[in-house]
């Protein structure tokens, strides 16, 4: 029977092939291996090994879930100094990079007609070493450019460059934060990004810094922020010109036009100087140089209402531990350095260094270069100075302005060698591609924050003919010196670790996946002279960009664009616009009306001779005259480089918009930006109204014996970062269906983030998943018992029983059920990612969130082994596990000691559409974002 075979094929695809007892006879899965499996590995049982995420520079700790040797899920390491269990959307998706069907599988050499062809490593390496020597003789310089690199690899690169006479260039990061580093250098002689201890602050002012999504170490900051919010008595104000995920999550968000932040900070600094909290003074000339603003003209210049400004300055001056983080767009324009300096000075005056601003554990951006460095490099290349040019884990061709002519100049190098895994713009320009192993295939370590070393450990042998960068360099050194590779990178690392931490430390690193060194507190003092000199020559005003401004915001989903091409990241929609696939240009409703553009209408945005066509998305809450596009949506925009900081501006000024009248086909998943007064997220003032609902029922509650699984989601903590969504996709084998189906509204996500906009442009995020109702409308209508209620309070969906009437989905008030419209086939080797504890649903079957029933089953299995009940916190869902804010709590409602029980009984706990009497198991904790007086949480 054709169908059967098809199912069988899917069965084989679905990863449960190796050694699983649940395959059909066709799958060769009952095997006598030659050797017994490695110690501690039990076939059929999942096991975890530590590693580190390499998707962005933050360096979050990973614990890699493996089955039969294949990594199937990435989770944050609880207790890790950086991410403490949380993992962001990009980190979750990093697994799809490992299994990406389009990875570079072998060394590639560009042949005569410009096509790439695979070559052996020997050939490739020998070619490199020859040309190294060759170009040295020809008097050309061999150059090494890489993305931000820390830990042993950085040392090895130095060694490599030293030995082979290669010049190591400053690392290239689009987000180098060099203005902030510059300012700290100027004020305190520390040219770096300090470690902000947000969790200890009682007042936080972020200026431009997108700390929740992309700024330096987002997961770390998010965790800290949650801790502060949970503690209570904490207030967070955010100022930015555009609209970012961070902005909408602050307790109060101010729109401050680029350049005007300096006014705000100057005003606040003076307030602090006059009214405290004041621990250190400033030299007199600095104080005099500091421009004076009355509330009125400060508010008039910044656009912040006077009373709000006064209120703000009160908060700052009243606060005991005020923290100011300037960065991102607010420090990357003409006055960027000034903004950073003023912020630093406020920190100095309020005496929060090193309490909140810790230079001992700085974020190690010292070695990171700037756009100016790249400009210089491009110039050198064009002069044909370069012999061999190594380009490692970096994509300047995409990121740099066309004006730099980097694309053309790369070709001028005698031999450009690119290390990478996917074919990005830069690699395509290289002469030789050396394929990098994924971090899950390689040994290594990173030191994202000084004194925090995180382990990179292979979770599987390389899928393709690839090498880790370390091994590559060692072999190159060997090839050049002729005596072959000295040692493998592994040995090299082990030596380094023992040298640095001693045997014990090394073992700890290998065991826990990280080592946190204790560092002496670092006291810095303000360089008064430089400070006042700087203030003299600047006058906190002028130099604002001409409106309209196009802000190129860093992207939650692809950072600076490096994560483009990971399928999952386009499938999960952007939380603010709910657009999944494609690029767009956000425009404020007012401006849209003025321009007379429809939603999703295509427009040509141009600045100078640069232009690009983008669909316009009307974005509530955005300021007039400000347009926003993701940094990853625009190709080599003409960004200006700042003289003092060398950082590129994050915006284009005086842009022109020409609408085309053509409406673009980009999938907007949300059916309505407003909740139409339906109280999905009730106004806190309507508390009692919420509570008299949903109690009455004709029938007695059916009783649950041991467990009654339930979830509590704190909406005051949830920031819409969508990490949970990505985690859910991977944990539950949810198919990635692509743009065509998204346009039809057929996305398959079991868990979605619903943004609801208020009149003021404020946004509340509602994570919507199956509510596991106790009187579930979906169950009654299923003719075949595929949907029913189990004794543990789960609303079960039995896939192999489902016939696909879709009645349950129709009857679900929350519309969280997903129907398989087609057969979904995973491109090899993506199928390796499948979680064998779930079947891959067939076409014509309804599926939905099950509270990760497979995890519950596993936990109960463990508990049963030592005959006890599952403990609170022993089992949690994929979404809760990944959530960086810790907004999601999962547990047993029958256990009155459990956390979820406590949360579900808070007075701000409510359930969506309680009036329908569906009696859901998902409790939402309402209350405005960090609303002033909130009940405790943790």
């Amino acid at each position: 029977m054709k169908r059967r075979d098809f199912l069988r094929v899917l069965g084989i695809l679905s990863g449960s092939t190796l050694l699983s007892s649940c395959g059909s006879r066709k799958t060769k899965d009952f095997v006598s291996s030659v050797l017994p499996p490695e110690e501690g590995v039990i076939p059929g049982e999942a096991y975890f090994s530590p590693s580190t995420c390499a998707e962005c520079p933050a360096g979050c700790g990973l614990s890699v879930k493996r089955r039969e040797g294949w990594p199937i899920k990435l989770e944050g390491v609880p207790g890790h100094p950086i991410n403490d269990g949380g993992l962001c959307i990009r980190g979750q998706s990093s697994l799809t990079r490992l299994y990406h069907p389009k990875r570079v599988e072998a060394p590639m050499l560009r042949n005569g007609d410009g096509k790439f062809q695979a070559v052996s490593w020997e050939k490739a390496l020998s070619l490199v070493s020859e040309s190294l020597a060759g170009s040295r003789d020809a008097g050309r310089k061999n150059l090494f450019l890489s993305g931000r690199t820390t830990g042993s690899l950085s040392l090895l690169i130095d060694a490599f460059c030293g030995k082979l006479g290669v010049e190591r260039l400053p690392e290239f990061e689009v987000y180098s934060h060099s203005a902030v580093a510059e300012a700290n250098g100027l004020l305190f002689g520390e040219r770096d990004i300090p470690h902000y201890r947000i969790e200890n602050a009682d007042f936080l002012l972020t200026v431009g810094a997108d700390i929740l999504a992309t700024h330096v170490s987002p997961v770390s900051y998010t965790r800290k922020l949650s801790r502060a919010r949970i503690r209570g008595d904490f207030r967070w104000i955010h100022a930015e010109p555009h609209l970012s995920l961070t902005g909408v999550n602050a307790d109060r968000r101010f729109v401050v036009f680029p350049g005007r932040e300096a006014v705000l900070l100057a005003y606040l600094l003076r307030q602090v100087l006059e009214r405290g909290p004041r621990r250190h003074g400033l030299p007199r000339e600095a104080v005099n140089a500091l421009p004076r603003f009355s509330v009125e003209n400060a508010s008039e210049k910044t656009g912040i209402p006077a009373e709000e400004l006064a209120e703000l300055s009160n908060r700052v001056t009243k606060a005991r531990f005020p923290l100011v983080i300037a960065g991102g767009i607010s420090t990357s324009h003409r006055r960027g350095l000034e903004v950073a300096v003023l912020a630093g000075m406020i920190q100095w005056v309020t005496g929060q260094i090193p309490g909140l601003v810790d230079f001992a554990r700085n974020e190690k951006y010292g070695g990171t270069g700037t756009f100016r460095d790249m400009e210089a490099l491009s110039a050198r290349l064009s002069r044909g100075e370069a012999g061999v040019l190594f380009l490692s884990r970096t994509n300047p061709v995409f990121s740099l302005p066309a004006g730099f002519a980097f694309r053309e100049n790369v070709r001028k190098a005698k031999l450009s060698v690119a290390f990478g895994d996917l074919l990005d713009e830069t690699i395509k320009e290289a002469d030789l591609i050396l394929p990098l192993s994924h971090s899950l295939e390689s040994w290594g370590d990173v030191e994202p924050r000084r004194g925090v070393v995180s382990l990179v450990k292979p979770a599987l042998a390389s899928l393709h003919d690839t090498l880790s960068e370390g091994d590559m360099l060692l072999r190159l050194m060997g090839a050049v010196s002729g005596e072959g590779p000295a040692t493998g990178y592994r040995e090299y690392l082990f030596a380094e670790w023992t040298k640095r931490f001693g045997e014990k430390g090394k073992d700890a690193l290998l065991r826990d996946g990280f080592v946190e060194e204790s560092l002496p507190e670092k006291r810095v003092t303000l360089n008064g002279g430089k400070a006042s000199a700087f203030l003299k020559e600047t006058a906190a005003e002028g130099g604002e960009p001409k409106a309209p401004v196009l802000v190129l915001a860093p992207s939650l989903r692809t950072f600076d664009g490096r994560s483009r091409g990971l399928p999952l990241l386009s499938e999960v929609p952007d939380p603010l616009t709910t657009i999944s696939y494609g690029r767009w240009l956000s425009v404020s409703p007012g401006t849209a009306k003025a321009l007379g553009v429809k939603d999703r209408e295509e427009a040509t945005v141009s600045s100078g001779d640069w232009s690009q066509v983008l669909p316009m998305k009307i974005q509530p809450g955005l300021a007039e005259g400000v347009f926003v596009a993701g940094r990853d949506f625009v190709d080599s925009p003409p960004l200006r480089t700042e003289e003092r900081t060398g950082e590129a501006t994050w915006y284009l000024e005086g842009i022109r918009i020409e609408k085309s009248g053509k409406v673009a086909a980009i999938p907007v998943l949300s059916g309505s930006p407003s909740q139409q007064g339906r109280g999905l997220i009730p106004d806190p003032s309507h508390k009692d109204e919420r509570h008299h609902h949903g109690k009455e029922s004709l029938y007695p509650e059916h009783e649950h014996k041991e467990y009654r699984w339930a979830m509590a989601i704190d909406l005051a903590l949830c920031n819409g970062c969508s990490a949970c969504v990505a985690a859910c996709y991977i944990e539950n084998n949810v198919p990635v269906v692509g743009k065509k189906d998204h346009l039809k509204g057929r996305e398959m996500s079991w868990l979605r983030i619903e943004p609801f906009y208020g009149e003021a442009g404020n946004v509340d995020f509602l994570p919507m998943l199956c509510q596991q109702c106790h009187s579930a409308p979906c169950e009654t209508v299923c003719p075949v018992y595929a949907a029913y209620h189990n004794p543990e309070g789960l609303n079960v969906q039995v896939y192999n029983r489902c016939v696909g009437t879709r009645y349950c989905s129709n009857n679900c008030p929350y519309k969280v059920r997903r129907f398989n419209w087609f057969w979904h086939l995973w491109k090899k080797p993506l199928d390796r990612m499948h979680n064998p504890d779930l079947e891959v649903r067939a076409a014509g079957v309804m599926e939905k969130c099950t509270f990760c029933v497979q995890r519950i089953r596993a936990a109960k299995d463990r508990a049963k082994d030592d005959s006890r009940k599952v403990r609170d916190g022993e089992v949690t869902t994929a979404c809760a596990q990944s959530c960086p804010t810790g907004a999601i709590t999962f547990g047993n409602l029958l256990d009155t000691e459990s956390k979820v029980y406590r949360l579900a009984h808070l007075t701000r706990a409510y359930r969506v559409f309680e009036g329908l009497g569906t009696n859901p198991s998902v409790y939402y904790l309402g209350g405005a974002k960090g609303g002033p007086e909130r009940e405790g949480h943790g």
Binding site: H774, E779, H789, N919
Partner: protein, 145 residues
């Protein structure tokens, strides 16, 4: 030997029938065939009303019983909670019972009819002689009068 009278007209046929009845010919010897139902015949030769209705009642009753028994027993055989409703929730079962009442009722009525009307005449589906639109009275031979 039997003797047969054929009429083209209903009234003649009826009067002839009346005569027979008056002559006191026992009705089991009189066979009547008509192109359509002629209720006067039953007045002339009174008989007990047809028993098809008993089958109807029996069928309907058994339908109701089956309906309830089936739904309740199957629900109990593997109790699964749906929508927080009790395992045996009668209101929906009434609908099933109703449907089965009609179904069984109709079928048993039909089969009852077949039995009572001695149909089908397995080997006589095409009788060798047909009377078309004639009203036919056949008197089977009995003891000569």
């Amino acid at each position: 030997m039997e003797n047969r009278m054929m009429f083209r007209d209903k009234e003649e046929f009826l009067s002839a029938l009346r005569d027979l009845a008056r002559e006191g010919v026992p009705q089991e010897r009189i066979r009547v065939e008509t192109p359509f139902y002629v209720h006067e015949v039953d007045e002339i030769l009174p008989t007990k009303p047809a028993k098809v209705k008993n089958f109807a009642l029996l069928g309907a009753a058994s339908g109701t019983v089956t309906g309830f028994a089936f739904t309740i027993l199957t629900s109990l055989s593997w109790p699964l909670i749906v929508g927080g409703k009790p395992i045996v929730s009668l209101p929906p079962f009434v609908i099933i019972a109703f449907a089965l009442t009609i179904l069984f009722g109709a079928l048993s009525t039909f089969f009852g009819f077949l039995i009572l009307a001695r149909l089908p005449r397995v080997f006589g589906v095409v009788p060798e002689e047909e009377f078309g639109n004639a009203f036919v009275i056949t008197v089977e031979p009995g003891e000569t009068k």
